[in-house]
């Protein structure tokens, strides 16, 4: 089965009002080329589920987001994501604010076909008080109350990986694959952009196969886009683009998102974008961060 698609074909399969999960973590291994393709489209009213970074910020700034399900939105080295803040401070988006681990439980519940997973996480906090959709339940086995973390059923997930084959075998060689396996399992359709398209034989050695975290049956589409995580990182292939993120966050103070989008996204193809940021070689040369 050949699951190769273009980014445009991925976006053409999405619909207004869908719940879309986005893999990665903050400024790390985000499917930014697919996000840019959404920004170029007329999609709207999306519910996003994300360990958020600029993916969330850009989609909020462009008015694509009806509701955000999140535990944080941050670029880590720039702690506060300016366009996410603007959207919240304008009251422009609905939110379901979660703990980081609750978000994981919600994805697992969806993956496992459970309506909810009980957890003590969230008890006693405003996570529960501010979100009427989070219900408490009594346990049949003890006298405590538990948060019934509901399944986060995703219509689609967007993920970026290091390499994939045309059948949807996906490999992540960075030190952490984050919750991407759960995003893949929680979604009806999972669209994966990859830095390298490889033959299946590339995974044959156990040292390679160990870095494949979900079965190809969970992958619906494969979009080869070398450098497609930029400006987020795709370790070990490249780090995040500090200068670019600074320009992006700086635009929130001067010019606004439309200035950024006009320069880098609107009317520009992905290859135009890569030329504007110095080309694939420059992306691949971005140093890995030291923590």
């Amino acid at each position: 089965m050949d699951k190769q698609m273009t980014a445009q074909q991925v976006v053409s399969e999405l619909r207004n009002g869908m719940t879309v999960g986005i893999g990665g973590w903050g400024p790390r291994r985000k499917p930014m080329a697919l996000v840019r393709e959404i920004l170029r489209s007329d999609l709207q009213d999306l519910t996003l589920v994300s360990y958020g970074g600029a993916d969330v910020g850009m989609l909020c700034a462009a008015g694509k987001v009806k509701k955000l399900i999140f535990a944080f939105v941050s670029l880590d080295f720039i702690p506060l994501e300016p366009y996410f803040r603007q959207a919240r401070q304008a009251g422009a988006i609905d939110v379901l604010e979660l703990d980081e681990g609750m978000l994981l439980l919600g994805l697992r519940a969806a993956a496992w076909g459970c309506p909810f997973i009980p957890t003590q996480v969230g008890l006693g906090t405003d996570i529960v008080r501010k979100s009427p959709e989070l219900q408490l339940v009594d346990s049949p086995y003890d006298d405590k109350e538990w948060v019934a973390m509901p399944a986060l059923n995703l219509d689609a997930s967007l993920i970026h990986v290091d390499r994939a084959d045309a059948r949807g075998v996906c490999q992540i060689k960075g030190a952490d694959h984050y919750m991407d396996d759960w995003f893949a399992r929680a979604a009806q359709k999972t669209y994966v952009s990859c830095d390298e398209l490889v033959p299946t034989s590339a995974f044959n050695h156990p040292d390679e196969a160990r870095f494949v975290f979900w079965e190809r049956s969970q992958t619906s589409g494969v979009v080869p886009i070398p450098g497609g995580a930029h400006p987020s990182s795709c370790a070990p292939l490249y780090g995040f683009d500090v200068a670019h993120f600074k320009e992006y966050t700086g635009s929130a103070k001067e010019g606004g998102f439309s200035a950024y989008a006009d320069k880098y996204i609107n009317g520009q193809s992905e290859s135009d974008y890569q030329k504007l940021v110095g080309g694939l070689e420059a992306i691949r040369a971005l140093p890995l961060p030291t923590y």
Partner: protein, 267 residues
């Protein structure tokens, strides 16, 4: 207590923060931010070698990493993989103690990392979000480091958004006891506090050299129990200062507190 002027306030705070991890045994020590991270590392390098620590990315280390850029031949001492999904397995086991820097802390020891002012639907100032605070606070001990002690952080009322559970009876979940909650130590640029007063009231534990109890009271929005003679926060020993310098070779600690003040402000 020699060389009293030869250490910075950041170094004093590191040593005070490290105390949070004394006697904790074999738990994951998570220090978020430069001073808490060096503090957890110092504890692991000295009085609690059983602590566990990550590289702040995806590996559990047998030996803490020094901060900042390292030589190209540096090899970190990995013990096991510890990606984010596995961090939650550790958090929910309770075998962890985190030291974090929230934006607001109230008299119940509840903290806020998410939103200030306005309404929840439209906050005046949006920050990070709840992050892992809800799960941390219901699962394992937590301490706070507050680099600028003020009544804007230690507020008079309740937190605008309660990210982490504290000793508020009105919010106590059914079947739980306030004694299940463990808000351990609060270290600031002025003092050390805990919540071991009557009914889990905030209590002054020690004052940094040159700081008065009145300064703490004036800069704290809620009442802090001040009982008897308050000791002075212990100064770093020369051995501790040497280990701190090894853990932070680029002196990131000098940039953490405004104007990098000396540790002893009795002058």
């Amino acid at each position: 207590m020699s060389n009293s002027s030869n250490y910075s306030l950041a170094e004093l705070c590191i040593v005070a923060c490290a105390e949070a991890f004394r006697g904790e045994g074999e738990v994951l020590a998570t220090g978020i931010g430069v001073i808490p991270r060096i503090a957890a590392s110092l504890a692991m390098k000295t009085f609690n070698p059983d602590l566990m620590m990550t590289d702040s990315e995806a590996w559990l280390l047998a030996e803490p990493n020094p901060l900042g850029p390292r030589d190209s031949d540096f090899q970190q001492q990995n013990e096991t993989w510890m990606g984010y999904s596995r961090v939650f397995d550790n958090v929910w086991s309770g075998r962890r103690h985190a030291m974090l820097g929230p934006t607001q802390v109230d008299r119940f020891g509840q903290s806020n990392t998410s939103a200030l002012g306005g309404t929840y639907e439209q906050p005046k100032v949006m920050m990070l979000g709840a992050r892992g605070f809800p799960g941390n606070s219901i699962s394992h001990p937590n301490s706070f480091f507050v680099p600028a002690h003020s009544s804007r952080v230690f507020i008079a009322g309740e937190c605008d958004f309660v990210s982490s559970v504290g000793y508020n009876p009105d919010r106590l979940p059914k079947g739980h006891s306030l004694d299940d909650i463990d808000v351990r130590l609060i270290v600031t640029d002025l003092c050390v506090m805990d919540f071991k007063g009557p009914g889990h009231q905030a209590r002054l534990v020690s004052l940094h050299p040159g700081i008065s109890a009145e300064q703490v009271v004036d800069n704290t929005g809620f009442e802090v129990l001040i009982e008897g003679e308050i000791p002075i926060t212990a100064s770093p020993t020369p051995e501790q200062l040497a280990i701190i310098a090894q853990l932070d070779p680029h002196n990131s600690r000098a940039k953490q507190l405004k104007d990098n003040p000396p540790g002893d402000r009795r002058a």
